[in-house]
Symmetry: C2
Subunit: 380 residues, 2 copies
């Protein structure tokens, strides 16, 4: 049971159009968010937690008092006495633009047409999300975060905060992330997108009007994604070649437990996740590349950062391997930034950033202890 | 231009039903095959080359005199003066049962119904293929092969020959293969199968009757498979984050060169490959596990082998990594078999087994030199 109890999501409406990296803009939008803990009088103890592909503003606490499974996606990390301690920090989770958990997204009405955006929802980037988060921070009266934090795609947002609003965060916590996707990462994303785009039920993005959902495409997209979240070893350990019934079926139903598990994950995902959102978010992943406008030089890209950094990676993560975090660490060191880096020997692959591991949790806990001591000593 | 010139495929009809591992049988079937070189008087210089997922009996030489692209899939390996020298050896390529290049498969008429087999084509295993190959060898008057050889799934067939017909091969050449798929390997196969099975154009396997092909499913299946054939590094080297037009498109068309490449591979594949065959062959891959009936003990599984072995693996192959070949080597060593093992530091991932690499080619060439010397000295 989450120690935070039930947390009520809030929403904030923004009337002023948000200019996007694409050149388009999005007007009249809403962001869903949750907060945990209390903002101190100095407004110096706020921490923004950024979400990854399929998560939301619901970072911690319960959505439903009667359902322990309604706990937030990082409830093991955020709460009273947790590594990011809500008795000390005022923590904010925001659902990103284009997502499907309440913030304005493809399933909402496009004011220009009176119909759902569908595939016309503008392609948003990590930088666009950060800009939208900054406006929310403005509205909440938070000039400077004690920390901005995220894992995977969330870590990209934290990193983008450090370059885009260098004075607005004192610490940047980037977990299991990367400064850019590799060709292989992009390839897996494109397989997922093609599965969705070629599903006849996708209807060019207008499936809402047809009363259907491209379930088959979403299901395959999730299955392939899910493989990349787990390590080979962990999958071998959990499933190996275990058979559902102890013998081969000689058909195309389920033989192996791993098939059962993956199909279940795909089915579940296809029931709640929006297909247009999936497309948008994979594009945001693909496009993120802060070094791009600096000729690929990450050191130059991070030259204007002012925060202190914690980076963490997991040895068995083959999606965003430790080497990808090390590149960021090196670029920060080249810029003489203060950086702590932990490489955790956890078996769970990329998903490890969401799981309990005492070494990992202790690293984050110790880091926030330092942040807290500084906050007590007065914001910089 | 292949030095073998044009090679005419042959076919052999088998009237006697073939009992299958599943308990079913297949009656009245045809195998397509090609041969290169000349069988010597002692019938001691025959080499069987087994194909992998999407290949065929067309191992070497040209299918079309006017089309250099019609060369066989291992034309760099097999031919006059090549590592497997057809001036010395009589080489046979066979299209496996259930495949889609001429041997009896799901698109052919099921004598029991008068309609195409479709999804009713019996699920065949590596062992079934080997049994069918053995019958072809009988018909060709080949009692014992100088070698049976294959890469990837072809290597599994070579390994199955060594246990199933231990006296019928003197050498067993297993390249970039494994004694069993991992959970991750099976997971990728199941993603591919689900993409095909849930494509509405699959029609439960009866798409022939509907005049359509589940192209979208096949395309996604091939895209995800293709990613596993290439190494992360090689993909980074060849494609990196190169953009098609030099800038982001902010849409779901093609941004990155890797997307263009993969979609092209998927499109091409979906135009020639049979969807039911894809399902069947991935199942044969999943099911292969000779140690299974020995409580997982590969040493016991390989105890009855009599051949000498060459195994080769490629350092950047993450589909069937070197460790998987090493397991086979260790089991053979435990049985005091003669084994040569080469681990090639090639950058091309799993696909390396099909590509030119002088170290790799020289290893195979040297091995067949030894086989040839033995053959000259008289068959064992």
């Amino acid at each position: 049971m989450s120690a935070l109890g039930v947390v009520i999501p809030q929403s904030m409406h923004f009337a002023a159009p948000l200019p996007l990296q694409s050149g388009a803009q999005i007007g009249d939008y809403t962001l869903m968010y949750e907060t945990y803990g209390t903002l101190n009088a100095a407004r110096s103890n706020a921490v923004l937690v950024c979400h990854a592909l399929n998560a939301s503003h619901h970072v911690a606490g319960l959505a439903d008092a009667n359902d322990p499974k309604s706990a937030g996606w990082w409830d093991n990390m955020v709460g009273p006495g947790k590594p990011l301690d809500t008795d000390r920090f005022f923590v904010i989770g925001v659902n990103n633009l284009g997502s499907c958990f309440g913030s304005t997204g493809p399933m909402h009405t496009n004011p220009a047409t009176g119909k759902p955006y569908g595939a016309d929802f503008p392609v948003v980037t990590v930088e666009d999300w950060v800009d939208a988060q900054a406006r929310l921070a403005d509205a909440l009266g938070i000039e400077q975060f004690a920390a901005v934090m995220g894992g995977s795609l969330g870590g990209m947002q934290a990193l983008a905060w450090s370059t885009r609003y260098p004075a607005r965060l004192r610490h940047c916590v980037v977990i299991a992330s990367t400064a850019k996707l590799s060709a292989q990462n992009i390839a897996f994303n494109d397989v997922a997108r093609q599965a969705i785009l070629t599903d006849p039920d996708y209807h060019g993005g207008d499936f809402y009007a047809h009363g259907v959902v491209p379930k088959n495409g979403l299901r395959v997209a999730r299955m392939v994604g899910h493989i990349t979240y787990l390590s080979d070893d962990d999958m071998a350990e959990k499933f190996g070649r275990d058979l559902r019934t102890g013998k081969y079926q000689f058909g195309f139903g389920i033989d192996f437990e791993i098939e059962s598990y993956l199909r279940y994950q795909g089915d579940k995902f296809s029931e709640y996740f929006d297909a247009n959102t999936y497309l948008l978010i994979t594009k945001a992943l693909d496009y993120f590349d802060p070094a791009r406008e600096f000729g690929g030089d990450l050191t130059k890209a991070l030259a204007n950062t002012r925060a202190q950094f914690l980076l963490a990676s997991f040895k068995t993560d083959w999606r965003f391997a430790p080497a990808r975090s090390q590149e960021i660490v090196q670029a920060l060191v080249n810029n003489r930034r203060r950086v702590a880096y932990a490489e955790i020997d956890a078996p769970h692959g990329h998903d490890a950033f969401l799981l309990d591991d005492s070494r990992y949790m202790n690293v984050v806990r110790a880091y926030y202890e330092k942040v807290w001591q500084e906050t007590q000593g007065g914001a910089q």
